[in-house]
Assembly symmetry: C2
Homo-oligomer: 310 residues x 2
Amino acid sequence: MVDDGGLDVVAPAGGAVRDLLRATPGGPVDLGKTEPRSTPGLPDVEVTGLDRKAWARRQVALVGRGLARQQEMLFAGAKADPGAGRRVLLVLQAMDCGGKDGTIKRVVGAMNPLGVHIRAFGPPTAEELRHHFLWRIRRALPPAGYLGVFNRSHYEDVLVPRVQERAPEDVWRPRYAEIDEFERELTDSGVVVVKVFLHISHTEQARRLLARLDDPTKHWKYHPSDVDARARWDDYQAAYADLLGRCGTDAAPWHVVPADRKWYRDWAVAHLLRETFDTLDLGYPPADFDVDGERERLLGTAGLLKVNGS
Amino acid sequence: MVDDGGLDVVAPAGGAVRDLLRATPGGPVDLGKTEPRSTPGLPDVEVTGLDRKAWARRQVALVGRGLARQQEMLFAGAKADPGAGRRVLLVLQAMDCGGKDGTIKRVVGAMNPLGVHIRAFGPPTAEELRHHFLWRIRRALPPAGYLGVFNRSHYEDVLVPRVQERAPEDVWRPRYAEIDEFERELTDSGVVVVKVFLHISHTEQARRLLARLDDPTKHWKYHPSDVDARARWDDYQAAYADLLGRCGTDAAPWHVVPADRKWYRDWAVAHLLRETFDTLDLGYPPADFDVDGERERLLGTAGLLKVNGS
């Protein structure tokens, strides 16, 4: 049950979030230009008794209801026309503690789990390493009609090998072009790709890691290697700056979501998804059977005379 | 956001739902003994301004919160001890319109989608038919730490071939024993199997099919073969009566959930899952690293001095 307190969805200020947050392709993206605690597009709404955090959380729940309906229409359309292969793929990338899991829980969790296809990518297994880096990615693509979510993705393969120096540059650098090619193949086959980098500050990461250490119910989320990776913060940011500028095509653009404030992050990703679904111009497919004829057949079966109130 | 209206979870009346609804193994189950509009175990609670339907829906949301936490503990435990392989598998079976999708949406949807692994089984594909009937089932099992949900299951293979006479009895009958063996293998390897038959009446099915025909946004859920299957209602009920009695072992019992009332169905399945998780005696695993030492290391990294309020 969602308590919407009588609120309606308010559109982002200054245009679509997907335009406001879109990374500029070309050279490396200047991440310093996006303040992780900023809230681009958040409208200035005054609601008595609600601060903007509480207001944004209710907006996420409201947008989520609409997303659930849009997702159902996507699903219904794919059932009627499987050949079109239409589906949406949300790619989430972030530094440790950047909020990928929280975004999935809050935003994707508002949709019907039946139509959602979530895949997480950890360090490659021995079997995965024996294949091309896109092999495990291709196997994890959502079926037609689904919202797919990648919790980490093929972008790990231009991050970790580079920063941790696990592969020479002539191994990881050609992957940018391979990724462009792969994503073009996806969009050509009906997949709408939404790529999101959740951008947190160095300070916020420390705060969240500390919170995990301070709370025994969060110890399972902590790993000592998180601090090792943190020591390479600048190298990771540089690698992100490159991939965000290098692999943001018109067909599959990157979005940089300021993510120090969890409620803003969820609000922004919910609107990004809503705007993406809106471009699909979805509706319920017409019946491919004779509705009146089927009603006759159904009424001819026993049992209906006994129908009474619920 | 869940509006709990200040309510607490109220335990089912007369004992655990999993005992109240458990199918008696042995001979065929007498489905006539379970009234599809009945509400076994529903406590008689009076809350001003809430009818029992609205009350039950709020209870489902409340139980769902607890389930989300239990599921997280299961996930955390599996991360700490993958060898134990602990996971939960909810198997949902029903006649058409029995409410499998609705149950998943309402009950499973209350949990974190990150820890849920849903698989639907349609008519076997050409490739699946070339393999043993359990081949596709084994490939769809949830990983350790997950709640798996089977939307239909291996039980279709002792229903459709029998009722539609697509296979001779000496093909489908030995499958009962194979299923018992398979499920014992599952429980021996750490899978807790919860099997649920959503039991609707012949009349309620007609009402729901008619609702699908009357609402253009539901036409995509309707298929003319639904009326054909409805014509074999008694045969399907007999096949269910057999499998419910035949394949309900102590390790993997069947539950018959009266399902004409959707709110009762959701309430009962939510409690069934809660009771199942309770048997696992879950908790958060202890840290497998030196917490104080890690805090020292983290505080030694730059960035923390700038920590300020959120």
